[in-house]
């Protein structure tokens, strides 16, 4: 059942990417172009909708000891603010602003986004692998 839920959740997530048009980097860049005179607020509506639903889910999660299909609930959120968090977020923002793609929309476009999306995903996975190698020492 857990595997079915994982697949179903992935399908719904992917559908959300298309319906919201976040799969289109031009739409995302329209939001990030805050000072260009033609600001596109769509991403704000997407984040708002997603955060509202998830806020309810966290309240429901607090009433449960364990998830419905076994395993453990995620622990309390860490409160450590360090250079890794802020530096990582800044590096992420730099890449996001250059292209308008982040991991979710990039993977959503894997089969239908053509060569640019494939190049971006290959580079993204290389970046993840690179960091893993470096941090192992």
């Amino acid at each position: 059942m857990r595997k079915f839920i994982a697949l179903l959740a992935g399908l719904i997530f992917g559908l959300g990417m298309v319906v919201s048009d976040m799969i289109n980097p031009a739409r995302v860049l329209g939001f990030l172009d805050l000072f260009g005179g033609a600001w596109d607020p769509t991403l704000g509506f997407v984040m708002g909708g997603a955060v509202l639903v998830m806020a309810v889910a966290w309240l429901l999660a607090d009433t449960r000891q364990t998830p419905i299909y076994g395993g453990d609930m995620p622990g309390a959120a860490s409160s450590i603010i360090d250079r890794k968090l802020i530096g990582g977020a800044a590096i992420f923002g730099l890449g996001w602003g250059l292209v308008g793609l982040c991991p979710g929309p990039a993977l959503a476009g894997l089969l239908i986004g053509g060569t640019p999306v494939l190049i971006f995903i290959a580079a993204m996975i290389s970046g993840m692998a690179l960091l893993k190698m470096v941090s192992r020492g």
């Binding site: 992935g10 719904i12 997530f13 089969l111």
Partner: protein, 143 residues
């Protein structure tokens, strides 16, 4: 501002779907729908215990837009970024999301919605930097 009510409502509906997906994964499986975290966990020599679940989640994420394209219509995916910048952007997104332990979904949706200080700060940081990058590249360098 370029406001279109229909686009905004589709944005809200899509956002609700993303929230429902993350809610389902949390309440049913106890997992956080952070795409960079799930992807990063599979970029390893030794796969994590629940790797099949992670792979199935990502398969759904990849498949749904393709199915949508076949049945309804292919969504526009407009990318004008040059190849060197695409590669740079991808590498930076890969490194940054793992170093900062999250991306738009993990911090922006799952973390912000539980009022995690870390996630709120990370989200403000990557939003501010990305807005700065677009402002500089579109209006200062291009101008």
């Amino acid at each position: 501002m370029n406001f279109d009510l229909t686009t905004a409502m589709f944005g809200l509906a899509g956002g609700i779907l993303i929230g429902l997906s993350a809610a389902l994964l949390l309440l049913a499986n106890g997992r956080i729908a952070g795409i960079s975290g799930i992807t990063g966990s599979l970029v390893a020599l030794k796969l994590p215990a629940a790797w099949t679940e992670s792979l199935l989640f990502l398969s759904g994420l990849v498949a749904a837009p393709a199915i949508y394209a076949l049945i309804i219509s292919p969504p526009a995916i407009i990318i004008t970024t040059s190849v060197p910048l695409l590669i740079a952007g991808g590498v930076l997104v890969g490194i940054g999301s793992r170093l900062g332990s999250g991306c738009t979904s993990g911090h922006g949706v799952c973390g912000v919605s539980r009022l995690s200080k870390r996630s709120i700060l990370a989200t403000l940081t990557f939003m501010a930097v990305a807005i700065a990058v677009v402002t500089v590249s579109r209006h200062l360098i291009a101008a």
